[in-house]
Amino acid sequence: MIWLAWRQLRTQVLVAVVGLAVFAAYLVYLGFRIRHDYLADVVNCVPSDCASSRRLFADRYVAQVSLLGLLLLALPGIVGAFWGAPLVARELETKTDLLVWNQSVTRGRWLAVKLLVVGAAAVAVSGAFSLLLTWSVSRYDQWAGDRFAAMSFAARNVVPLGYAAFAFVLGVLVGLLVRRTVPAMAIVLAVFAALQVVVPTAVRSHLLPPVSSTVAFNGEAMQHAHGFGMSPETGASIVGYVMPGTWPMDSQFKVFNADGTPYTSTQSRQCMTGTPDKDFECMTQQNLHFSYTYQPGSRYWPFQWIELSAYTLLALLLAGVSFLWIRRRVS
């Protein structure tokens, strides 16, 4: 049975291996180049020139890193559509199920072997790509310091393995239910894409309850923010503040006085002199603070493992449904 599963997968695996080899070569090359430039432009930069050389370093690689991340994000969907969906659907379409299910191997075992062999290949390909990319762009990620960003969280380390397992089994089950390869492929791609939008925007930040801490509104805080805003509706707030290494739960946080009352425009007008630096120093002396809600950086790995486990569990669940279905309903 393993022989048959492998024989039917052979061509696809060869294509994947060749594709992966080309990518691997490029990723290794990119990895060394980024490391070289990181040392030259970021670590050992000429002090007078550091700000611009660091920015140049980032500008040089932002496009490649994002594109590779996107590709890795899409890979599980592609694997699910091209390996998962046809796994059973093509057999049903060409009626070879009638041939293979009448050999001395039960349907349950047939499906189990195919799921394991092809699923393992799918996870291995995605995992290899993910680990290579993680290594290759690690210096860039270090510079960017934004590990929780939707694009980089989902395209690094272990979560892509979970996506691959899930998308693959989803493909198998949809193929089994729809019984047609092409519609099954479309459904898998649509469902997977929808999940990759919904999970980062609406689910991931709730995996663990966020933490709040009070941060003094001062020069140091402003270094990590885009600016200070004052509007009639929301009052005073600090915009785009990110404590290094953490994942902020909001894009702006309200600024309060020491006694907990909202900072008002009347108060801020008292500091308006026309010289920005002096104005800001004046505000700092007003003893302001804001409450910062975030996911701490130490939760990066727990989040990776939680998401990996959740997708793996989903994959197992869908596999279970596939087994029930193939025994009871099909043909």
Partner: protein, 284 residues
């Protein structure tokens, strides 16, 4: 005698459509069984149930005393060639034999090799490029070389031309003798089966119309020309008219009677099968 297939009130529905209805049947072992019926009679449904491709909606079916496709051991006992003899287009003839060898513990490699040689199939040829007849032969080889006790062929010759049909059936007959298995084969044409089968099951409208050994069936069926007048008074008490057919040459009746019918000649198998199928059509 043991039964290869035994069903009780077997019913299969696809949604609202009933393909097989309340079918009770006992097929004895050691026979070549012809399953015949018009298109849509439920032949494929019955054979698929026999292979356990799906479960019955109602009723019970036992094949060789076990639940169809219940276990790997049960699967090993039944060989099945589905309608149109599906094979993997991308695998070669030799790879199909390898598939059979890997997937069946009782695989008879020498039998498979011999047969492929005798049929003149090129082992390196991709199965997708075989002719319909060659594909049917390949599928039959894979099904037979697993050395089960029952071989089921669903419309094996439907896609073949008349010469290939004869050749396939002739070859099957000698092959089956060599294997020593029970065989069930279906067709919508009784003429395909009448020369090979020694047990007949006529299926029409999702129900069994007639079942029995060919010799027994021929012994009790008679063909009588009805020239004007009626049949009343001309038949023995236990006789029953199965079907009457009017043609330009006159009217003939097929009569079932354990006793001889005066003036009647023996009906042949095609007459008998056709009469039961026609009778079902008329009822509808």
């Amino acid at each position: 005698m043991t039964a290869v297939i035994e069903t009780e009130h077997l019913t299969k529905r696809y949604g609202r459509k009933t393909a097989l209805s309340d079918c009770t049947l006992r097929v004895p072992a050691g026979k070549i069984v012809g399953l015949v019926g018009p298109n849509g009679a439920g032949k494929s449904t019955l054979l698929s149930l026999t292979c356990g491709l799906f479960a019955p909606s109602e009723g019970r079916i036992e094949v060789l005393g076990g639940r169809p496709a219940g276990t790997a051991a049960q699967l090993a006992r039944v060989g099945f060639v589905a309608q149109d003899a599906p094979v993997y287009a991308g695998l070669s003839v030799a790879e199909h034999l390898k598939l059979g060898a890997r997937l069946n513990p009782g695989w008879d490699e020498s039998l498979a090799r011999r047969r492929i040689d005798r049929l003149g199939l090129d082992p390196a040829q991709k199965a997708g490029r075989l002719s319909g007849g060659q594909r049917a032969q390949l599928a039959l080889t894979v099904a037979a070389a697993k050395r089960g006790e029952l071989l089921i062929l669903d419309e094996p010759v439907a896609s073949l031309d008349p010469i290939a049909r004869r050749a396939f059936m002739h070859d099957l007959l000698s092959f089956v003798e060599e294997l020593g298995v029970s065989v069930v084969l279906s067709s919508h044409l009784l003429s395909d089966l009448s020369h090979v089968c020694d047990h007949l099951v006529v299926l029409a409208g999702g129900q069994v119309q007639l079942a029995g050994d060919v010799t027994d069936l021929l012994a009790v069926h008679h063909r009588l020309r009805v020239d004007g007048g009626g049949l009343d008074g001309r038949l023995p008490a236990a006789a029953r008219v199965v079907h009457t057919e009017r043609t330009v040459a006159g009217t003939t009746a097929i009569i079932r009677s354990p006793e001889p019918v005066p003036g009647a000649e023996r009906a042949d198998l095609e007459d008998v099968g056709l009469a039961y199928m026609m009778a079902m059509e008329v009822q509808r």
